[in-house]
């Protein structure tokens, strides 16, 4: 059974660490965040002993990209989006893959997508009619760019997404605090469309050389485009292979890319199961190791924090005779 990620002891904690600062370690009975929005009802349904403190200017438009396909962008977008909604923030998740959309599958909303951004542009529906609200977490809404059979005009794509984000921002009652954009693979028209309205980026990569090279290229393009706040999530980490020196460690990855760490997600078979069920990983009870890691990454994203220590698997300590008795 996969184990959840730990938090570091207080002795090693710092304001920008796996754990928040020691001040925040004290359990606080924060008042529930009540708004006259769909999220308020959800907030009332949850009891948190503490919540993350939102940093930065809202709405925070975050693009989740990687360059290489299959590293876990959509999984990351879905799980972080659900985590943010559970924290009580109003989130709009945008699937910017015009040809091959998948975010609706991971969220379990595939049967409810009737209108997309293309229909909004054509005038077939309004923007609020194209947003699909998750009934489990009403503060999360999904917007798909287009259906597989329809195509977004190329000259339009970047402008269209920028108008969409701007229109969401200008909504009087339910302006989102986070807009997560699931970027398609590659650095082509879809990538250009997805990064157009973003002002920060989450780069998802795996500890293999092909993904790292593509990630480095994408990082360079993002920086050329003016996006400087780029954080990294290293996905599908196998601590046993790292210990056997068959896989690059997270520190090696960071040394190659030179990016701050937002999260480290261990390899977990529950990811596939959650994809099949349409039930994001972070909702599992008891939590899985990858689900807990996603929640922690979402927490750091909210507080604009980064990791300052990573886990390295070691040989378990040999137990003596008296360990049976608790010694």
């Amino acid at each position: 059974m996969a184990a959840p990620l730990p938090s570091i002891p207080r002795a090693l904690s710092s304001p920008h660490s796996i754990l928040p600062s020691p001040v925040l370690l004290r359990p606080q009975s924060l008042p529930l965040h009540r708004r006259q929005t769909p999220g308020s009802a959800v907030s009332a349904a949850f009891q948190w002993n503490r919540k993350p403190q939102l940093a930065g200017e809202t709405p925070r438009v975050v693009v989740v990209t990687s360059g290489k396909g299959g590293v876990g962008k959509t999984t990351t977008t879905a799980n972080i989006g659900i985590s943010l909604a559970r924290f009580g923030f109003y989130v709009v998740a945008v699937d910017a893959d015009a040809g091959l959309r998948n975010l609706d599958l991971l969220l379990g909303l595939e049967n409810r997508v009737n209108y997309t951004a293309v229909e909004v542009l054509n005038g077939d529906c309004r923007l609020d009619q194209a947003l699909v609200r998750d009934r489990r977490y009403p503060s999360l809404e999904l917007l798909c760019i287009s259906k597989p059979r329809s195509k977004l005009p190329l000259g339009f794509g970047a402008k269209a997404l920028t108008w969409v984000v701007d229109a969401l921002r200008s909504r009087p009652s339910s302006a989102p605090q986070f807009v997560l954009i699931d970027c398609p693979a590659g650095i082509d028209a879809g990538f250009i469309t997805a990064i157009a309205p973003a002002n920060e980026a989450v780069l998802v990569t795996t500890p293999d050389i092909t993904a790292l090279r593509d990630a480095d290229r994408v990082t360079g393009l993002l920086e050329c485009d003016g996006i400087r706040d780029i954080k990294m999530i290293v996905n599908r980490v196998r601590t046993d292979l790292i210990r056997g020196e068959d896989m690059m460690s997270v520190l090696d990855v960071q040394e190659m890319l030179g990016l701050a760490l937002l999260g480290v997600i261990p390899e977990d078979s529950e990811v596939i199961k959650s994809t099949n069920r349409g039930y994001p990983l972070v909702l599992n009870k008891p939590p899985t190791v990858a689900g807990l890691a996603f929640e922690q990454a979402a927490w750091r994203l909210v507080e604009q924090d980064t990791m300052t220590a990573v886990m390295v698997e070691e040989e378990p300590k040999k137990k003596g005779f008296f360990s049976f008795f608790g010694g």
């Binding site: 184990a3 349904a45 609020d128 009934r135 108008w163 890319l257």
Partner: protein
């Protein structure tokens, strides 16, 4: 040493206890060994009456003599057979003693009737607990009907229902499955031990990477997408042009959407969407035109019917005058009808006025 002692050399055996053992030779019960010891075991005591197990031993050490062994080898065959037989007898005897030492099962059960009662009581209690738990679980689920499954599947909101309790969300940084090592940075999770390694990336290293990438990757965001072969507009930066191959599916997409209209559609917050409204209006116009055509057809039919009835009512006019007048009227009627048809107006009052003239 006598030959008998030399004949029975089986085990170099030394007993811990200074006891006397009886040695039997092939001829009889003779105790002729100077060094004799006896094993006093309970096995012997039990079987004393029945058989006498024979333990043929000799003391290790001085008694052993290689020359003696060689002598025994010459005439040792009957001696060996006798020894094997004695071994078997000994083993059988010990087995019988073991069996006889165990009390019969029935006696044991009868003896331990109190513990049997306790065991039965424990089993009955366990069954009772299981049954009670099953009943409690059924009762608990009975209050939640199948609608609870809809809540669980996300079809219905749980916060509106009285059956659901607020979910308690654990802090992801404090988890009961994690055990911290005391005084060190070790963490134990589900049988695996981890060590925390601090991140070593500094701000200087980050800036070095950024400079490297800025030298390696030069890129401007494309704003214009052109098919291969199309000319570049004069006021467009060539670096912002993205060329699409002519056979690419995106190249065949016709952008027939007006940009301004599209922007307006995105920002629309209330009312009917643009295309839906436009289609509705177009449909309305079409229906109106269809209705007007239908009415005109009806009017044309009515006019024909009216002319048939027109002649009997024209009594003031001569028959000779009637014909050219009638033809003229007919022509006039036709002309008016035609003019009405051309204008597309279905004015029943004008028709009735004309009818009144005749």
């Amino acid at each position: 040493m006598t030959s008998t002692t030399k004949a029975f050399s089986f085990l170099p055996f030394q007993s811990i206890f200074p006891q006397v053992i009886s040695i039997r030779d092939v001829k009889g019960w003779n105790l002729k060994t100077p060094q004799s010891f006896r094993l006093g075991s309970r096995w012997l005591g039990h079987t004393r009456g029945e058989s006498r197990p024979l333990i043929l031993v000799r003391a290790s050490g001085d008694a052993l003599d290689s020359s003696g062994d060689s002598e025994r080898a010459g005439d040792g065959t009957p001696v060996e057979e006798e020894g094997n037989r004695l071994d078997l007898e000994r083993k059988l005897g010990s087995l019988r003693e073991m069996v006889n030492s165990l009390p019969p099962v029935v006696i044991v059960i009868k003896r331990n009737s109190g513990s049997k009662f306790a065991i039965a009581l424990c089993v009955a209690f366990a069954f009772l607990v299981i049954a009670t738990r099953q009943i409690m679980l059924k009762r608990k689920n009975h209050y939640q009907g199948s609608v609870a499954d809809l809540v669980r599947r996300g079809q219905l909101r749980s916060d509106r229902r009285g059956i659901s309790k607020p979910l308690k969300c654990d802090d992801p940084f404090h988890n009961p499955f994690i055990k911290f090592g005391k005084g060190d940075s070790r963490i134990e999770m589900f049988g695996k031990v981890y060590r925390l390694a601090p991140v070593t990336l500094t701000k200087e290293q980050q800036s070095v990477h950024q400079k490297r990438r800025s030298r390696a990757y030069q890129w401007k965001r494309p704003t214009i997408f052109l098919k291969e072969g199309d000319p570049i507009p004069p006021d467009v930066d060539p670096e912002t042009v993205r060329w699409i191959p002519a056979n690419h599916p995106f190249a065949t997409t016709a952008s027939d959407i007006d940009e301004d209209v599209a922007q307006h559609n995105v920002y629309q917050k209330h009312g009917v969407p643009f295309r839906v409204k436009a289609e509705h209006e177009a449909l309305q116009r079409k229906l109106e035109s269809l209705q007007s055509e239908q009415k005109l057809n009806e009017v044309a039919l009515d006019l024909n019917n009216i002319r048939d009835f027109e002649r009997p009512f024209k009594s003031s006019m001569k028959p000779q005058d009637l014909e050219p007048n009638s033809s003229a009227n007919q022509q006039n009627g036709h002309l008016t009808l035609k003019s009405d048809e051309e204008t597309g107006t279905s004015d029943s009052e004008s028709l009735s006025d004309e009818l009144k003239k005749y």
